[in-house]
C-alpha cells in the first residue's frame, strides 16, 4: 500500500474528521498486512498517540483498546482467566511473536478478515465494539453489516461473566492461517458457538446454540444434533481445506468442544 501523507492524530475527533473528509484516508492499525495491498491512499491515520493500547479490567467487562497488540492480549492474565483462556489462545495462535507485536485487535476486527483467529472467540464471548461516532454495537451485528465503517474503533469489550470455553484452530502448521476456527463458550444465557475461517469471516452457529440452549440435558443425542447443525453452516473451498473437510472438522470439533465444556461445568 502506498500513501502520500501520514498523520499521527492527537484526538479521535481529528481522526474522525480525516476519515469523513476523503474515502482515500484510512486508519492504519498495526500495519501487518499493509504490504499485501496495492492500493494508493491519501492519508494514513495513526492512532498510536491516543493511548488506545490498554487493557482495562472493570467489574463486569474487560475493555481492550483497539490498538492493543495481539501479543499483549496473549500475555494478559485477566483475559487468560476468561472462558478457559480462549481469547489468549487465539491471539497466541496468530503467526509469529514479532507479527503479534505489530498486529492489533482493532485491525483484526475492523478488517473483518475471514482468516482472523481472534474474531471467532470474540464472537463466541459476545464481545461488543465501542466506536467513536456510532457508539457501542455488538460484534455480531458489526460482522453482519456490509462495507467498511467510517467510524473509529476505540475498544473491544468482553464480558467477564463467562463459563468454561473451548477454542480450536485447525491448521497445517503452527504459522498457517486456519482451515477452521471454532469457539464454544458457556454464558449466563447458555452456549454460544462461533465458527471462523469457513473460509469467510466468523459467524455464530445459531441453530446449534438453539438446540443446546433449549435442551433439558446435554446428552449425546443433543450434542450430535448440535454438531450436525454447526457442520451445516455455510463453508467453502480454499487451498487450506475443502468445503467437505471443513464440514467434517466442524462436526468433530463441535462435538468435542461441547463435551469438554459440559464436563468442565459439571
Amino acid at each position: 500500500m502506498k500513501f502520500k501523507t501520514y498523520r499521527r492524530v492527537e484526538s479521535l475527533d481529528e481522526a474522525y474528521q480525516l476519515l469523513q473528509e476523503d474515502r482515500k484516508n484510512m486508519v492504519v492499525a498495526g500495519g501487518g498486512w499493509l504490504k499485501m495491498s496495492s492500493r494508493t491512499l491519501e492519508t494514513a491515520i495513526d492512532l498510536s498517540a491516543l493511548g488506545l493500547d490498554r487493557i482495562v479490567a472493570g467489574e463486569d467487562t474487560i475493555e481492550i483498546g483497539s490498538m492493543t497488540p495481539l501479543s499483549a492480549i496473549e500475555a494478559d492474565s485477566g483475559i487468560a482467566a476468561l472462558a478457559s483462556g480462549i481469547l489468549s489462545q487465539a491471539a497466541g495462535a496468530v503467526m509469529g511473536l514479532s507479527f503479534r507485536n505489530l498486529a492489533t485487535v482493532g485491525g483484526s476486527v475492523v478488517g473483518k478478515y475471514g482468516f482472523s483467529d481472534v474474531l471467532t472467540p470474540l464472537l463466541a464471548m459476545g464481545a461488543e465494539l465501542d466506536f467513536y461516532g456510532e457508539g457501542r454495537i455488538s460484534l455480531e451485528a458489526f460482522l453482519k453489516k456490509k462495507g467498511r465503517t467510517a467510524d473509529i474503533l476505540k475498544s473491544v469489550i468482553v464480558p467477564r461473566s463467562l463459563g468454561p470455553g473451548y477454542f480450536k484452530k485447525v491448521r497445517k502448521t503452527r504459522l498457517d492461517f486456519a482451515a477452521l476456527n471454532l469457539a464454544v463458550v458457556t454464558t449466563q444465557r447458555g452456549y454460544r458457538i462461533a465458527v471462523g475461517s469457513r473460509p469467510s469471516a466468523a459467524t455464530l452457529g445459531e441453530e446449534a446454540m438453539e438446540i443446546l440452549n433449549s435442551a433439558d440435558t446435554i446428552d449425546e443425542a443433543t450434542i450430535e444434533k448440535a454438531a450436525r447443525a454447526v457442520a451445516s453452516l455455510k463453508y467453502g473451498d480454499n487451498p487450506r481445506a475443502s468445503k467437505a473437510y471443513r464440514e467434517h472438522v466442524a462436526y468433530v470439533y463441535t462435538k468435542r468442544a461441547i463435551e469438554e465444556v459440559r464436563d468442565c461445568e459439571d
Binding site: 497445517k172 472438522v249 468435542r256
Partner: protein
C-alpha cells in the same frame, strides 16, 4: 578398513564463519552490492502461454532515472540451459535470455534497470505489451502430444541424445531393462502394483536469489552471485552472451541456503547484460514471490510401480515407470528422472529383473529443476510405500522384508553400470554399506518391537510407526570434479582455496578440517576461502552430494602434496633426507635425534631466510565411483482417527555416510533434510489457479515446517569407513530428505489402514480415504 584415531576430522568444530554471520557482518551477495548499482526489475508474464505480439518500451525508456530497458529484441536467439551442470549438459538448450514466447505465469518479458527500485517498478508499469494468448498445457498427464507445443522454436537442441522431442512436448525420455520383467512378474507368487503422485516442492532457502554486477578497473565483468555453481555460471554467461570467458569473474560470497535451488542460473544473465550494455553496476534480487513463481521447483511425478515376490518374501522383479513434469523449461529433465530409478532401485539388488522407464514432459507450469534428493525422494516414496504393501500382502513384517532383500556390504547392483546421470553408469561394489546395522539400530531407537505397528492411546488418538530405507550417491563418477589449492604462509598457517561452494552446509569448515588433519595443524591455522573463479581452482559446485567426497578428496590430495613438500624442505633445512624426517603435530624431527624444527619456524625461514620460495600445492579429483550413503528413517506419529491430523513424536535416522568429518554438521545435513522431507510429505504444496497462476507464491500460502512441526529428531551415525573417501567419508547432503514421505505414508497406513498415494499426505486426504474405505466394506 583403515580407521584410526583422528585429531581434527570426525570431531566437532563450530563453523568457521558462524560467529561473524550471527553478529551480522557483511557476508552475503547483497551485502556487497555497489551503493550506486542500478536496480533491475523484471516484467513477468501474466499468461501461462503466449507470444509477445508487440512490446512498446518507449514510455519506460523516457522516464527519468531509467537507464535501460531490455526485451527479446535486444538478444540474439542463442538458446542455453540454466541447469548449471557439467558440460556438455544433459539438459535441452531451450531457454533464451529473453524470448518472444512466454511459457508460464512469471516468465520473463522485459527487464528495466533504473536508479532505484521505485523508478524501476514504475517503468515496468509503463511498458505496453500485447500478447497473443495460446491454450496452455496445465495437466502434465496430457502434455505429451498436446495440440499446444510449448517449444515450437527451431533453435532449441539437445547436446547429445536425451530423448528430446519438443514437437510432442517431451524434454527427455529414458528406458532400461535388466532381465525380463514381464516374464518374471508373471512367474511371481505375489505382485503389487501401485500408482503414486509427488508434488512440486519449493526450496524456500531464506536468502532469495540475488546477484550484482560491475565492470572492474581491468574492464572485466565481475559478478557477485548467490550461486551453488560459480564456474558453471561463468561458462554459461560467456557462451550465451558471447563474452570471452577470460573477461568474466564470478564471486560466490556466503550463500544463504541453496538445496539445489541455486544450482541454476537465475538473475545472472540479466544483471550481466545490463552492466555490459550500460557500463554501470547493477543488482537484481528476487522478491519472495519471484523465488516461488519464477525460479523452479522439484519435478512433480506420476510413478507406476510393480513389485514381484515369491511367497516367502524374496523380491523377484521391480518395474518403475513414470512421467515427470519439467514445466516450461527442461533443466535437469533427464538427470532427475534417471536418479528416480538409479538411486532407489539398487536398494533391492537381488531381484531377477528390473525395469525403469518414462518421459519427462513440458507444461506451462513453473519450471522444475535440481532440488536436494532430486529423483531419489520421488522414487523412494513410490518404492518404499509399495514395499510395505508387498509385506502386507505376504503377511510379513515390512522391516523383515527389507532386511531379507536389501543391499549389503560387498554386494553390487547391475543398475550401477547401466544408469548414470544423463549417461551410462559405473559398475561398483558396496565397499562400505552398514544398512543392516542402520535398520537394526533404528528399530531399537524407535522401539519397534513394542510400538509397531500401532497402539491406541486415547479415544481419538492412535500412535504408529512407519519406516523406510534410502540410498544416495557421492558425486557423479567421471563428471564431477573438484580442486583445491593450499598455500603455506610465514609462521606456518595455510590458505585453503576451494572452488567448492559453501552454501550453508558447512563445506568450508569440513574441507579445512580435512586439510588440517593431513597437515597436523590446529584448525585455526587453516584459512579457507570459497569461491571465486579468478582466485580459487575449479569445482563443479555444490550439488549431487559431491562436496565431501569429491572436493574433500581434492583437498586431501593437495594436503598430502603439501605435507611431502614440507618434509622435503624440512630435510633440506635440517640437512638430512626426507625419509629420515618424522612429522607430527607441526614439528619435524629427525630419526637420528638431531635438532628438529617447528612448522612455523620452517615457514618463516622459507619466506625470509633460506632458499626462499613459495610453497603451493593443488589437488584435483574426480570420482571413479559414487559410494552411496545409506540410511533408515523411522517415524512415530500420533494421529487423530477422526480428523486425520497428525503429530510427529520422533523421527529416528540412522545413517551410514562413512566417517563424519564434522559430526554436528553431518547431523545438521541429515536433520535439515529430514524436516524438508517431512514438509514435502505433509504440508508443502504448490497450488495453481485454474488459469495457471501460482497461488502458493509466498510463505503465507506455502507452508514449510516450523519449530512445532516435529517434536523430536533422533539422529545417529553408523560406524563406517569408505576407503575411497577422504578419511573414510562419503557424502551426506541429500540422503536425509529421502525417507520421510514413505515412512509417513507407511505410518498412516499402520495407524488407520488407509494408504495415501499422493503427496502431500494431508488430514483431508486421510479423512477422504477413511470415508472411502468405510463405503468399500
Amino acid at each position: 578398513m583403515k580407521k584410526k584415531t583422528f585429531k581434527t576430522v570426525n570431531t566437532q568444530f563450530p563453523s568457521v564463519d558462524g560467529k561473524g554471520i550471527m553478529m551480522g557482518r557483511p557476508a552475503y551477495t547483497d551485502d556487497f552490492a555497489p551503493v550506486d548499482a542500478l536496480t533491475i526489475k523484471v516484467l513477468r508474464s501474466p499468461h501461462p502461454f503466449a507470444r509477445i505480439a508487440s512490446i512498446d518500451t518507449s514510455a519506460a525508456e523516457a522516464m527519468e532515472g531509467v537507464e535501460i530497458v531490455l526485451t527479446h529484441k535486444d538478444f540474439k536467439r542463442n538458446p542455453f540451459t540454466r541447469a548449471g551442470q557439467g558440460y556438455p549438459e544433459p539438459s535441452p538448450h531451450d531457454k533464451f535470455v529473453l524470448d518472444e514466447y512466454v511459457r508460464y505465469v512469471g516468465d520473463e518479458v522485459a527487464a528495466v534497470a533504473a536508479v532505484d527500485e521505485e523508478t524501476a517498478l514504475s517503468a515496468l508499469d509503463a511498458i505496453d505489451v500485447e500478447y497473443e494468448v495460446y491454450e496452455p498445457v496445465l495437466d502434465f498427464e496430457s502434455a505429451k502430444g498436446h495440440d499446444s507445443i510449448i517449444h515450437p522454436e527451431k533453435e532449441v537442441y539437445e547436446m547429445f541424445p536425451i530423448g528430446f522431442d519438443p514437437e510432442r512436448n517431451v524434454a527427455a525420455s529414458y528406458h532400461m531393462e535388466i532381465g525380463d520383467v514381464e516374464q518374471t512378474l508373471a512367474q511371481s507368487d505375489v505382485v503389487v502394483e501401485e500408482t503414486f503422485y509427488t508434488q512440486a516442492q519449493a526450496h524456500t532457502m531464506l536468502e532469495p536469489h540475488t546477484v550484482n554486477a560491475h565492470i572492474d578497473y581491468q574492464d572485466r565483468l565481475v559478478l557477485f552471485s548467490a550461486t551453488q555453481t560459480p564456474f558453471h555460471v561463468r561458462r554459461i554467461l560467456s557462451q550465451t552472451l558471447e563474452v570471452p570467458i577470460s573477461r568474466i569473474r564470478v564471486i560466490k560470497p556466503r550463500v544463504g541456503g541453496g538445496f539445489g535451488g541455486k544450482q541454476a542460473i537465475h538473475g545472472e544473465m540479466l544483471a550481466a547484460a545490463v552492466t555490459l550494455r550500460t557500463g554501470r553496476p547493477s543488482k537484481l534480487t528476487y522478491t519472495r514471490q519471484e523465488v516461488f513463481e519464477s525460479s523452479y521447483t522439484r519435478h512433480p511425478m506420476r510413478l507406476n510401480i510393480r513389485i514381484g515376490s515369491t511367497k516367502d518374501g524374496r523380491l523377484t522383479a521391480l518395474d518403475l515407470q513414470g512421467l515427470s513434469d519439467t514445466g516450461a523449461y527442461g533443466e535437469h529433465a533427464l538427470t532427475v528422472y534417471m536418479v528416480t530409478g538409479s538411486k532407489v532401485l539398487p536398494l533391492y539388488n537381488k531381484v531377477d529383473a528390473v525395469r525403469f522407464a518414462g518421459d519427462v514432459v513440458y507444461t506451462n507450469h513453473v519450471s522444475s529443476g535440481a532440488f536436494r534428493g532430486y529423483g531419489a525422494v520421488q522414487g523412494n516414496f513410490a518404492l518404499e510405500s509399495a514395499i510395505d504393501k508387498v509385506a502386507d500382502k505376504l503377511g510379513m513384517d515390512p522391516m523383515a522384508l527389507r532386511q531379507k532383500n536389501m543391499i549389503l556390504e560387498g554386494e553390487t547392483s547391475p543398475i550401477f553400470e547401466v544408469m548414470g546421470e544423463g549417461t551410462e553408469g559405473t559398475a561398483m561394489d558396496m565397499e562400505s554399506c552398514k544398512l543392516d546395522y542402520c535398520v537394526k539400530r533404528g528399530m531399537e531407537l524407535i522401539g519397534y518391537e513394542e510400538k509397531s505397528p500401532r497402539r491406541e492411546v486415547s479415544e481419538h488418538k492412535i500412535r504408529s510407526i512407519g519406516g523406510a530405507i534410502a540410498m544416495q550417491g557421492s558425486g557423479i563418477p567421471y563428471i564431477d570434479m573438484g580442486a583445491a589449492t593450499l598455500k603455506l604462509n610465514d609462521d606456518g598457517f595455510f590458505n585453503l582455496t576451494v572452488g567448492a561452494t559453501d552454501i550453508g552446509q558447512g563445506s568450508d569448515t569440513i574441507l579445512a578440517q580435512i586439510a588440517a588433519e593431513q597437515l597436523e595443524v590446529p584448525l585455526e591455522k587453516m584459512v579457507v576461502y570459497s569461491s571465486d573463479t579468478d582466485l580459487t581452482p575449479f569445482d563443479v559446485g555444490a550439488y549431487a552430494s559431491s562436496t565431501t567426497y569429491v572436493s574433500g578428496n581434492a583437498v586431501l590430495k593437495a594436503a598430502q602434496q603439501m605435507r611431502s613438500r614440507l618434509v622435503e624442505e624440512a630435510a633440506r633445512s635440517m640437512q638430512t633426507s626426507p625419509e629420515a624426517i618424522i612429522y607430527e603435530d607441526g614439528r619435524f624431527e629427525a630419526e637420528d635425534g638431531s635438532p628438529g624444527i617447528d612448522l612455523g619456524e620452517l615457514a618463516t625461514k622459507l619466506y625470509y631466510n633460506e632458499d626462499q620460495k613459495q610453497l603451493t600445492t593443488t589437488g584435483s579429483y574426480y570420482g571413479t565411483k559414487s559410494p552411496p550413503p545409506f540410511m533408515v528413517g523411522f517415524v512415530e506419529i500420533e494421529i487423530d482417527r477422526e480428523t486425520g491430523e497428525l503429530d510427529i513424536l520422533d523421527y529416528v535416522s540412522v545413517v551410514d555416510c562413512g566417517t563424519t568429518i564434522n559430526p554436528a554438521l553431518a547431523r545438521g545435513q541429515i536433520e535439515g533434510g529430514i524436516v524438508q522431507g517431512i514438509g514435502m510429505a505433509l504440508t508443502e504444496d504448490e497450488h495453481y489457479s485454474k488459469k495457471g497462476k501460482l497461488i502458493s507464491k509466498d510463505f503465507l500460502n506455502y507452508k514449510i515446517p516450523d519449530n512445532y512441526t516435529v517434536k523430536k529428531l533422533t539422529t545417529e551415525f553408523a560406524d563406517s569407513y569408505e576407503d575411497s573417501g577422504p578419511y573414510g567419508a562419503k557424502s551426506v547432503a541429500e540422503i536425509g530428505i529421502d525417507t520421510p514421505p514413505a515412512a509417513l505414508a507407511n505410518a498412516v497406513e499402520n495407524a488407520l489402514g488407509v494408504r495415501i498415494r499422493s503427496l502431500p499426505i494431508t488430514p483431508e486426504k486421510i479423512v477422504a480415504a477413511l470415508k472411502e474405505s468405510r463405503t468399500d466394506t
